[in-house]
């Protein structure tokens, strides 16, 4: 702000130089990335993890995805009845669950609509690839991320 009081001529120039000099003598606020890794916040939308056991192949995520980047295939298997003498039950099993991260917008709608707790966000971010086709994460890769899902952090008391 240009203040009204009489200013020493070119005071702005010297004050600016004083500021840069002060900054130069202070330690730089830098995180040395590959050696020191910054901890992302627990809610960060880094990558999506898949719990294969929980998935029921209901296709909700694939249908709600705005980018059509989730590909699911599955089949049904007959399972032994839970109670002896009961009706044999049918269980859907995943054959394929791919997320194409080159298309993904990281909106999180799939995680939100999943009714069976099969999809989770994890804050992991180091999965860039030299080839774009490698960004298609298959079931194994998505399951691997499951180990990195953070616990819910405490909330602000309201």
């Amino acid at each position: 702000m240009s203040d009204k009081q009489i200013r020493f001529p070119f005071r702005g120039l010297w004050e600016g130089m004083w500021l840069t000099l002060k900054t130069m003598l202070k330690p730089a606020p830098v995180t040395m990335y590959p050696q020191v890794q910054e901890e992302p916040v627990p809610r960060a939308r880094g990558v999506i993890a898949l719990d294969v056991e929980a998935c029921t192949v209901c296709m909700l995520c694939a249908r709600e995805c705005p980018d059509w980047c989730i590909y699911i295939e599955g089949h049904k298997e007959e399972q032994p009845p839970s109670k002896p003498g009961g009706r044999p039950r049918v269980r859907a099993t995943l054959d394929r669950f791919d997320i194409d991260y080159s298309l993904c917008m990281y909106c999180g709608i799939c995680v939100e609509v999943c009714p069976f707790d099969a999809l989770f966000w994890t804050p992991e971010y180091e999965y860039s690839e030299p080839k774009i086709t490698n960004l298609l994460h298959n079931m194994d890769k998505l399951t691997y991320w499951l180990g990195t899902v953070p616990d819910q952090p405490p909330l602000e008391k309201s």
Partner: protein
């Protein structure tokens, strides 16, 4: 000593000094600039503090393809960086680093410097014209206008010193500053011209130097945000390296001139005559480093002026003030 041997030694010494000096200044700019911005700057090249970054950059530039645009005038385009580089290196011939440590102590030392350093305008114009690029052309024209406009205050500011010193020899100017000016309590006090009433000349000289170097706040010829890179737009590889080294070498050169004219050159208080040749270069380098740092410091703090404001500053302010300053200095010289 054999004339040719001496020539070769001096040549190698000057070239070596210019090139290593330029690399050191580049490193200083990278480091100081980034710390002023709250960054760290080069970090990996070399083992510590990224000291080898300028070397690595140089190697990278050498490997790069040396492009020249289709419409370029190849001969002139190729020649331009060397003209700039040559004019810079030639300046060092007359800069004294000690009573005897000087390429050649010309009687007209400062005259030679001002003449030869203005040759770089030619190289820049050549680069701007031959690149067959509108940005380059505009950059080249801006550079020509700017360098010619600031050659005058530069010369006039130096002339004031010459008037006071009574000699044009660089060594003579240094000696004039190590003469006893007055004696207090039995101690002979020698003062550099900066403190002998040449402060106005010094400021004008430094402003003109920054303009001559085309550095912020006077970097319109390369104005990155306006003309992409001005006359450097089309250059790559070894030719760009030449311009780049040339820029930093001339930073040293002009700082050396300013140090000689205003800060007493290689002379330092309390140094016995016998050691002057030994201590002199160190003193000189310190003074150069100080001025170079100020130039770097300004570059990382201030914004850029506009072309017409720059011309107005030169013609309306610097040149009249410098002329008046010469008159004042001459009057004092005659009266006292």
């Amino acid at each position: 000593m054999n004339f040719w041997l001496e020539l070769i030694i001096k040549l190698v010494a000057i070239l070596g000094f210019v090139l290593t000096g330029a690399l050191v200044v580049i490193y200083a700019e990278l480091k100081a600039g980034s710390h002023m911005q709250g960054r760290i700057g080069p970090y990996y090249a070399g083992v510590r503090w990224g000291w080898a970054q300028p070397l690595a950059d140089g190697l990278k530039f050498l490997q790069k393809e040396d492009l020249s645009p289709t419409g370029a005038d190849r001969t002139i385009y190729g020649l331009a960086p060397y003209v700039v580089m040559m004019s810079t290196i030639a300046v060092f011939v007359v800069i004294p680093f000690g009573p005897d440590m000087v390429g050649r102590d010309l009687d007209l030392g400062i005259y030679f410097i001002l003449a030869i350093s203005s040759l770089s305008v030619l190289g820049i114009l050549m680069a701007g014209w031959s690149s067959a690029n509108k940005y380059s052309l505009m950059g080249g024209l801006r550079a020509a206008a700017q360098l010619i406009a600031y050659e005058l205050p530069l010369v006039l500011a130096a002339a004031a010193v010459v008037v006071q010193a009574g000699t044009m020899s660089m060594n003579g100017i240094v000696l004039a500053q190590s003469e006893t000016w007055f004696t207090v309590a039995g101690i002979d006090v020698a003062m550099p011209f900066l403190l002998k009433g040449q402060i106005i000349s010094f400021i004008i000289f430094m402003i003109a130097v920054v303009a001559e170097l085309s550095r912020i706040p006077f970097d319109m010829p390369i104005a990155e945000s306006e003309l992409t890179m001005g006359y450097l737009t089309e250059y790559s590889g070894i030719r760009f390296t030449m311009f780049f080294l040339g820029e930093y070498a001339s930073m040293i050169a002009f700082s050396a001139i300013a140090a000689t004219l205003f800060l007493g050159g290689y002379a330092a208080p309390g140094v016995p005559d016998g050691l002057a040749n030994l201590v002199g270069p160190g003193v000189m380098l310190l003074k150069i480093a100080l001025l170079v740092f100020v130039i770097i410091w300004i570059r990382w703090t201030w914004p850029r002026l506009r072309e017409d404001q720059l011309q107005r500053l030169a013609w309306f302010w610097l040149i009249p003030i410098a002329l008046a300053n010469i008159a004042v200095v001459a009057i004092f010289k005659v009266v006292f």
